[in-house]
Symmetry: none
Subunit: 204 residues, 4 copies
DNA sequence: TATGAATGAGCCTTCATTCAT
DNA sequence: GATGAATGAAGGCTCATTCAT
């Protein structure tokens, strides 16, 4: 039922979307919408939270999953003896790349959700705070990922994480409007663009 | 008078903002708003256009201005003998840096405008198209800037420009919420982060 | 519910009548009016059409009904052998008289409707056309009635029909303001006034 | 200046006509309209009164003017010896015919005024009363004209006068929409239609 | 339980009308 | 005296939200 709501919100926008419309799209009747999810505002927040949670989870899962094909052995051997700085950097790069792949993959597969999340809710008070919180979680995750191998530059890392997330969002928007683009290619592009700078900042 | 409108739209959002409220903030009465700027929708578009135009102009002016203090000598000597690829790259870097400084400076000085422009209008049909057009102009300007010194990789440059603009926007959002941050420092941060990757992509 | 609308429109006029007022008169609330009959304009047109249709139908029915008490025998004998011109004229006279009786009867019984129909809507664009069409139907019906027994003077008959309808309307207005007047007497008056001229024009 | 107002009212209707529009059409500025003629309502009433007065005057003048070409000798000789009933009837017929000619002539020459007078103001409270009064004057004039030669049937004459005026109005409306029709022909048509009945009613 | 029907509240928009120049 | 500029007041229309069935 949230699916229907997300679809309608995505297509028409929060204000233009009528509750009638959502109810009809969900195949139920209006009072049911209120019974199940309360106010239109609460309904929208519910959509928001679900989409954001799923997205974040997908990214975190991918990033944290057992080191797979490409970085597998290195990670394993490194794990035994404590990773050197270089090895840690390679690991972070690989995690970031996997996270981005998951990110673009998710966005490509859930266009409606992304539109609701990022294009509708962002500036609309009372949702902006909600979105900001979700976004903050993502930024922090990225910051942690980047900060682990690095030394003490944590303060400098937060803005970088913001920039990285912003760049990702921008490309996600671009991907939403270019459905043929492959998520892995997009992730590769962004990595090529960003990693050199990240690496230099992390180990000056 | 647009100033008042921008302020109200920024604080309350397009839909929540009442025309009464805007009129009151502008110190005039409601019918005057309609007399001067037409419909609420037209009023919003007018705000949008003004902010976007000013922002774009500020960035373009800064980017294109006579090579100033920092890059002065290099640019001058390069101008005499025709710039080598390396020198052109240096020029582009300098232009980009100046553009970013102007960008963050403008955003910091026009917080309300930025919020309206990027946070409100982006997902709200019928304004999304307007914003998309402005943004596209910005992306193209960046793409041209980057493409000049580079060879034939123009196709790869567009997504990069998107990412760069996105990263800039994200940091702008961050700046908006951290008023103490100096625009030049922010620009420097973003340059440090992005330029190595840009340089590598441009001249692999 | 149209009844309430007709009453209010009749009392206050189209523009002076507020939708709130109509809703209150109908015992429902404003949004219901919009839900059931759409725009205020559409509501007015609906009133118009209903009143006009009823009136027209009443007149046509009365005029076309089986020759009743007064003209019964004549009609019956004429029916057998084919009516002579004189007999056809008598039939037309009788039909016209019955039509007028029905007309004045209806107007007397639906004062509000008549006021809306003829006094409000006539000059008020965008309704004038609607009323003109209804009126044209009435004029044509009269013209056909008169033309049947007559020979080829059809062109001269249209203005006569207009005049007849106009005279009828004028007396209807008069009837509306003189509730004690009996419809049959009014019809008799008008017949006495008009028929001699009609008969002379029809058979010079 | 009333001319401009009449033209605008005729074209747009009372409510649709803006005071700005009228002022512009008159070549002066809005506050002047208020200075000269007061409220919009008063302005409309002024138009109304002027048109109605002119029309009534034109009809009365024509009806009362020295017996002209056609009825000249008869009227003159009748005047000497006291008119017989028949001669009085002939005089009334002639006066009525002249009145009708003037009426249709005036309407044809002042279409705008007629539209304002009869099509707009009729049902629109607060003007209906004004129009009704004017109309009543016309009806009375006709009734007096008809009653003079007749005996004591004054009560029966009023409704007849109403019907006659109504028929005239209807043909006037028809004339307004058929500009090629000659006023004298129209008057002749109406006389042919009505006079036989009138004559019969007057002298049963 | 699920719904058709109903509504209170509010927003955009428009004029007739009047000052300050 | 004439006007450009300003406004108070009101009306049409919509929609989130809730009863009675």
């Amino acid at each position: 039922m949230l699916d229907a709501a997300v679809a309608v919100f995505s297509r028409r926008g929060y204000h233009a979307a009528g509750v009638d419309e959502i109810a009809e799209a969900a195949g139920i009747s209006k009072p049911m919408v209120y019974a199940y999810l309360g106010t239109k505002e609460e309904l929208f927040v519910a959509c928001l939270r679900r989409e954001a949670t799923r997205l974040l989870q997908a990214v975190l899962d991918a990033s944290a999953e057992e080191a797979g094909a490409s970085a597998g052995e290195a990670g394993a051997s490194a794990g035994e003896a404590g990773a050197s700085a270089g090895e840690a950097g390679v690991l972070a790069e690989e995690q970031l790349r996997r996270g981005l792949r998951a990110f673009f993959g998710f966005v490509g597969a859930h266009r409606d959700g992304w539109r609701v999340l990022c294009r509708q809710a962002r500036g609309q008070e009372p949702f902006a705070a909600e979105v900001a919180a979700m976004r903050q979680r993502m930024v922090e995750a990225v910051a942690v990922l980047l900060a682990r191998p690095a030394g003490a530059h944590a303060d400098d890392i937060t803005p970088i994480a913001h920039a990285l997330v912003g760049a990702g969002e921008a490309m996600a928007d671009w991907v939403v409007d270019h459905p043929t683009e492959d998520p892995d290619v997009t992730a590769g592009r962004l990595m090529n663009l960003m990693w050199p700078g990240i690496a230099r900042v992390l180990r000056p």
